[in-house]
Symmetry: D2
Subunit: 299 residues, 4 copies
């Protein structure tokens, strides 16, 4: 199948390779001239035959960049063409875009893509949202992107437009919680150094037979093999939005989410040089108890 692919970074570049290896015709576009196949989005669309349906997979950072690409594509495509947003967009943006594009008959599909840099080799976990007939027509692409094995274990048509990114959002929220659980366990073990001498060996031994075995555990083993005490890494963790949205959705639906929110707040904490809240607590203890405070780092 012929697929236009916008964004050839870590994710998009690997997806192009995987799809080409499977025999698809991929026309890729990226601002980086060293990796792009065509010079512009206009050229990418022009690469499709006139009688051919144009299908473009957008794989660029969510937010303004995705928005700009889709807006430009909307001006180049016509009724029956398809835009697939494979980034981590917020599902409400999907709903809006699908509505806007429907005016000109352009189909919209949202695809949550999991698997990171390992997807090229292992296949990508896919969660998609959109109309049944459109999704059906794209299965040749989805089937070659997803991992080997039964289709339903690596791909889901989660519902109408928005459902794919909603499922991916929750996937990432869960991911935050699971990672934090391992991380807390790591710190507790590492703090017990009079009894536990090789924390890495314990994580290594959890890979088979245990209840906590998982792919993330295997990755942590890999990281600990490379840097046993994680000496080279600062405990500074970014977040890209899906964790925040997951908690916001939980709040809007009155669903308790103590674990996912705790994992999110731990990331916020990790990025603070100093905590205004804890300044206030230190100030309070000083006021009522005369407990000494520490001078501010920049004070």
């Amino acid at each position: 199948m012929h697929l236009g692919l916008v964004g050839l970074g870590k994710m998009g570049g690997n997806m192009r390779d995987r799809l080409r290896a499977a025999g698809h015709h991929v026309t890729g576009y990226d601002r980086n001239p060293e990796v792009t196949d065509v010079a512009s989005l206009e050229d990418l669309v022009a690469a499709f035959d006139a009688e051919e349906r144009t299908v473009v997979w957008v794989m660029v950072p969510a937010g303004e960049i995705t928005e700009a690409v889709i807006t430009e594509l909307a001006g180049l495509l016509s009724a029956g063409d398809v835009i697939i947003d494979g980034g981590n967009s917020k599902y409400v943006d999907d709903l809006r875009r699908a509505e806007q594009l429907s005016a000109s008959g352009i189909q919209y599909v949202d695809a949550g893509v999991s698997g990171g840099i390992w997807g090229k080799e292992n296949g990508y976990g896919l969660m998609v949202g959109g109309a049944d007939d459109v999704i059906d027509s794209l299965m040749p692409i989805f089937d070659d992107l997803r991992p080997d094995g039964p289709r339903n274990e690596g791909f889901v048509h989660a519902g109408p437009v928005g459902a794919g990114h909603y499922a991916k959002m929750v996937h990432n929220g869960i991911e935050y919680g699971v990672m934090q659980a391992y991380a807390e366990g790591y710190e507790i073990l590492a703090a017990k150094d009079e009894l536990i001498t090789d924390v890495g060996a314990i994580f290594e031994a959890w890979q088979r037979g245990t209840v906590v075995r998982s792919w993330l555990l295997e990755l942590l083993v890999k990281a600990l093999n490379e840097d046993p005490d994680l000496d080279d890494i600062r405990g500074y963790v970014a977040d890209s939005g899906e964790g925040r949205w997951t908690v916001e959705e939980a709040i809007q639906r009155a669903v308790p989410a103590p674990v996912i929110s705790a994992a999110l707040f731990a990331r916020f904490d990790s990025r603070q040089e100093d905590s205004p809240a804890m300044k206030a607590v230190a100030a309070l203890r000083n006021q009522f108890g005369g407990h000494a405070t520490k001078p501010s780092a920049d004070g």
Copy 2:
């Protein structure tokens, strides 16, 4: 190798089967006459040849029952014999017992065993603590209990006595957090029923290629296949101690453990008919705002 095995329930019974299938000579004892091989602990010890080292694996509920069995065994064994506690004992109990038994030359090993009812088929993840030479001498047993594959991926000699149960304790603490992360994600998806129609299909699709794939995820898929909306199950969750101890250890070492503690508290919550704390909050809102309260269920 000849092994005495005390406790032939879900865990011990399966372990006897697995070890016998591997060619070991297992003498099992259980209070239940239908499953036991011998009539008493005395008989179990007598089943060993005089010149043979007696090795007894205790696989009974942690706490009083384990304590009683080990105390009785201590009176039956002699210098050089070995007691392995395979239950979920608190590591400080291991330290105490090893000290007590050392007076009569009895060796003590603590073994954390993970894998649940699946261990018979898959093998058990093992984390053990004890003296090097004792552990070495028991490797034939450990190697046939653990899963196939490299030894270090399903077995760890985590350190001296206590280290095995300490590692298992943290394993279970992590397990609480990981389970709660999936569970919160499940509830958030289920609450979005105007967009997401088949939550089970999404979990099913996360089994390959995604970042959150794990054995626990596979089990949740299995559970959702059996009971798609979990209609037959009440949200009532017991805890058996290791999660509590993990948080207590974190506190004693000033390690933040927001996720594991949140998962623990969610279990406590799940078992309360009504919450005294939330009664107090309701009472407060009534006092300052005149907000109506609901009558107590038993009021």
Copy 3:
């Protein structure tokens, strides 16, 4: 000063009394004919002299009702008139409304009002947002609504439109956390009944000299005096939005808010008959460990 007051429930009715007692001319409107002074909003506006600036304080439930009242008022008022929203509106709604009303020259003020049913007697804590000159012109009203004592200890002009409700939102978020802290302490004391026999007496004794003394503590003492074991009250707690918004704001600004969010989630929990998340955890434990589950209440 002449003030129109829309909404004469627990809050608005008391405010009318307090303002009249201070000598203001209050024209009140409520849908309830037993408490209203005039028959309609139209009549309320007509009650102002032609040359007089019309000032209307809206004190109805935030959301649709407030929106409807303000929309209707907008059609009745003219340039120079003032609408004060005293409910718990979301600050973004203030920004939008002020913008819309500015087209016809109507001034908008957002007023966060704290103190509940006690405000009639004690005065109301006020946090207001709006233009300096408008706020200044309303000080006679604010000064008689706020508690006795220095103005800056019971009133703040927190900033431009939106700042009043923003401050009130955070006030309520803090309130959630403070209430939950007392409530957890209450439950911990109550659970220790072999040592602590009179929990209420302890809270009573905390009213003077201690670090935790507060007005909320005094209210809890009052509640415990009326119902020592809170036997008549169910632990069911509503939330009216400001706690949710506080956490959402924290998330949008990457501020860790573990305490306020925990207090919010405890309220969500308190309203669930059964927890879908804990059903999932129970199902998981059953799958891996064969742990029995409890039948669903409605199963």
Copy 4:
């Protein structure tokens, strides 16, 4: 009444002043020769007349120091004498000590004392545990230490030995949660600087009429007046044990304590140069997503 007082620091020194001002005869001992009245504990005990009951209030740091003082006193006192531990001891230590001292007929009382450096002026909130007749005999002291007003609003005989410190422990656990709630609110307001320009003025205005008014709030206002942006204070917060014990007690009784534990963990966080847990999360994100990590500060 004649009282021996051991420990004349911030707390003990002030208590001596307050008791003397009320007409009591206080013999103080401190290792610091500049403040002590006598040269040794022996001298302190000798300062009591032979026929007089010796009553010694111990006001030194909980733990080893308190333990050493009480052990030494035990050797100097005789049947009928009284030791009052006014520090923040763990209640289980009270139970043990009372049992030990009862062998020689020495009475033991545990007194939780709240109010910090303000107690000298305002009086101290007191929570005491011990036998009825002993407590009754000490009321002259308690009545002059506690704040003015009704006795039951600043003093409680919470139960038998241990109950006083148990109540104080929970008081401090609540204190952690309340402080953290204010602190999170402070940070959320401070982060909204495009709308909220004077956070301190808002806290100031919350002192009268609002639901969140409290003594701690007043202290925060004081702190913000002294240092409006808390620029001079680092967000580094110690903990002295009672918060930890409160959470441990909650865990042992299966009481959910999400707010108090979150406040405790925030303190732990505040003292970490770098977080091992967040290193692990950063390492994981790098492994699956190729997300760049930051170099360790000391890497």
